[in-house]
């Protein structure tokens, strides 16, 4: 495809600007808007290149744009996807409860064992072993919190981490 004329370029920019405005109204970040409009622009130019070998005319770009979704469709699609994303990040699916609960309990038990080892070693040599075991216990406790965000996991992990921090300090 040869160089694009200013009138065709203007038509493309109008379409991309309309998409950008729709996405901006939905609260989409500038970086994401740029990503989306860059992909749309590439698609438009690919479709034009497949359609004409010389310089595209206004009729060509109009035909290409007619095949595309209206800019308003981006608002609807983005909004729905963001909503589902927000739900996904805050609510743990029930099917994950068993697996994450088991992992959380295992991590919490590991934290308890490490805590006991830290205390035992700390009684004999206060400086060397105690700190390393305490740090490991804190890590396990925090992983337990992160793995299972239910009340029991949070409470157990938080208490273990707090105890370990106090012991280490």
């Amino acid at each position: 495809m040869n160089t694009i004329g200013s009138d065709v370029r203007e038509r493309i920019d109008e379409h991309l600007d309309a998409i950008d405005r729709i996405l901006a109204a939905q609260g989409t970040s500038r970086a994401e808007r740029r990503n989306v409009t860059d992909d749309v622009e590439t698609q438009i130019l690919d479709m034009l290149a497949a359609r004409v070998t010389g310089s595209p005319a206004l009729a060509d770009i109009d035909a290409v744009l007619a095949e595309l979704d209206a800019p308003e469709a981006f608002g609807d699609a983005h909004n729905t996807n963001n909503q589902s994303h927000a739900k996904q990040s805050t609510v743990l699916p029930k099917s994950d409860w068993h697996r994450n609960g088991t992992l959380s309990v295992a991590l919490a038990l590991a934290a308890i064992v490490l805590l006991a080892l830290g205390l035992a070693i700390g009684a004999g040599s206060l400086v060397c072993g105690c700190g390393a075991f305490a740090i490991a216990a804190i890590v396990c406790g925090l992983f337990a919190i992160g793995t299972f965000r239910g009340k029991l996991g949070t409470a157990l992990g938080a208490v273990l981490a707090l105890v370990c921090v106090l012991m280490y300090s």
């Binding site: 590439t42 595309l68 981006f74």
Partner: protein
């Protein structure tokens, strides 16, 4: 379009995008054409590109720009390790759902 059908499709498009990138990188329009071949999905640029932008934001895919014969650089997407992990997780859920629904629907079929 019927609401339930639109919701059903939207739920699986993200999985379809990740699955399409499993074996290598692809640019947006290429992905659109690939997924467009699955009639039941009925994807379009307004559904695919915002998902790609979100997956990029979430670190599940990475973008590489490369020269294009038709104009500006093409943006090639590929899965990150987190993206592969998400794909495995989603596929496991999808397989569970498919098995369960198949059993349920067959039980009720004439």
């Amino acid at each position: 379009m019927r609401t339930w059908l639109a919701q059903l499709r939207k739920g699986v498009v993200e999985l379809a995008v990740l699955a399409a990138l499993r074996d290598g990188e692809a640019y947006g329009y290429e992905l659109l054409q690939q997924l467009g071949a699955i009639d039941a999905l009925e994807v379009s640029e307004s559904s695919i590109y915002p998902i790609l932008a979100r997956l990029t934001r979430d670190g599940l895919v990475k973008v590489r720009a490369a020269a294009s014969p038709s104009g500006p650089p093409r943006r090639y997407y590929r899965l990150t390790p987190s993206g592969r992990s998400r794909l495995r997780e989603m596929q496991a859920h999808f397989d569970d759902l498919e098995r369960g629904m198949s059993r349920l629907l067959k039980r009720g079929s004439p």
